[in-house]
Symmetry: C2
Subunit: 221 residues, 2 copies
DNA sequence: TAGATTGTTAATCGATTAACAATC
DNA sequence: TAGATTGTTAATCGATTAACAATC
């Protein structure tokens, strides 16, 4: 174990490991090697060993990693060995889908309140929750020790909502709106905007493009 | 302009540029510098200039970039100057949300068919589309020149659906299921699984952790 | 002209991978 | 013991950033 700073790339792989380890556990596999993990997750085995070694000596030479033990360790590293409360703001289609999709079933992150600025939406029930008006957001966050905010409002409202969440003391934000949010450095923001993923995917479509024909306009065919 | 290979990191930033440029265009801003872009998008201006320069000399020294011209160029690079047809498989909450969320309104990617394996779901209407049974997927993809597949089925079914999409001739997949899909190298797959984003976010929550207390178990407080 | 800003080279920084001693 | 596999160092690879000549 070392005391280096952990890079974002490493942290982003931890949930991927955890997910597959949970899978192995369900299938009653008790031990796994970095080799096998790498094969399944399309990652270099050395990278996996290095990632894990940042946090401790979790493996055994000649044997591999104990699945249950590694699950426990990664869950601890990710703060998932405690319940993490979250709020969701914006009950459009996506917001409703996420509210129903209960993260809590798999890991310890639980959406415990949902909000919407639209009075026509407030008071309605989504899953087990009642949609609350924005006026109540600060009080709810403080009262229930809510640490993560999930933003699923239209892009023009996203920054405003983020500001309110931060003001109320939230620590981290998962942002589905297609904008870059501004926030103090101590607030962690992850972009979950899939339009970026989708549009960049289009780049890789093969249009019979020829690298050497940069200036040639091949409109037809 | 150079003929180097374009890295994935560069491609992923292009939609981000495009998004903000569209914004500027709407606000009738006609010119923008890499400096301003960097400020708004939290990116290094040199990086933005370098990214764009891979594809051409789009800027003017001393002036900056013409917003409309750059939009046009990036849209061309991303293949968005033509309609790209997509299918969506899996009409659960998320699938429905994405079907309603019409990408087509902003850019040229259009979901033109939706599928579900569940007979109780087929025949129902989502937005303007009728949910079709999986049996029709291959024919529909071929008939309508569908190039992108969006997977929103449960994780255990995702690989199977991916195989069917690939078999039918799809070129790229946006995968929302929390699994690593296996596919031939010529098929582009982007992971859009937000549980990974959410769980990695939890890592950054401050639990009064102390880097130097690696082995000390501070359970309380 | 003077000020601004690009495109690009060189320098830096960081992340991935290979290799291997240690050891189960 | 022999085979397997870790943890870690060193080598490689790639991406970001700084700096600046070119030029609008």
């Amino acid at each position: 174990m070392k005391s280096e700073k952990i890079s974002e790339a490493v942290v982003r792989r931890l949930p991927v490991y955890l997910r597959y380890l949970n899978d192995l556990h369900k299938r009653e596999v008790s031990t796994v090697s970095s080799q096998e993990l790498g094969l399944k997750l399309d990652l270099n085995p050395a990278q996996i060993r290095k990632d894990l070694a940042y946090f401790g000596d979790f493996g055994r030479k000649g044997i591999g990693y104990d699945v249950s033990y590694l699950i426990e360790k990664i869950r601890h590293i990710l703060n998932l060995d405690q319940q993490i409360n979250a709020v969701l703001v914006g009950t459009g289609n996506l917001g409703q889908a996420l509210s129903n999709y209960n993260f809590y079933l798999r890991e310890n992150i639980k959406i415990i309140a949902v909000f919407d600025a639209n009075p026509k939406k407030t008071g309605k029930q989504i899953s087990t929750l009642i949609v609350q008006p924005m006026e109540e957001i600060s009080e709810t966050i403080k009262k229930h020790n809510i640490r993560i905010g999930i933003i699923t409002v239209p892009d023009v409202e996203a920054q405003n909502v983020a500001d309110q969440l931060i003001e109320a003391g939230i620590e981290a934000i998962l942002n589905f709106a297609p904008v870059i949010l501004k926030a103090p450095a101590n607030i962690r923001i992850h972009a979950a905007d899939f339009t970026t993923d989708l549009l960049s995917l289009a780049y890789y479509l093969d249009n019979g493009k020829d690298d050497s024909a940069d200036d040639g306009e091949l409109e037809d065919k």
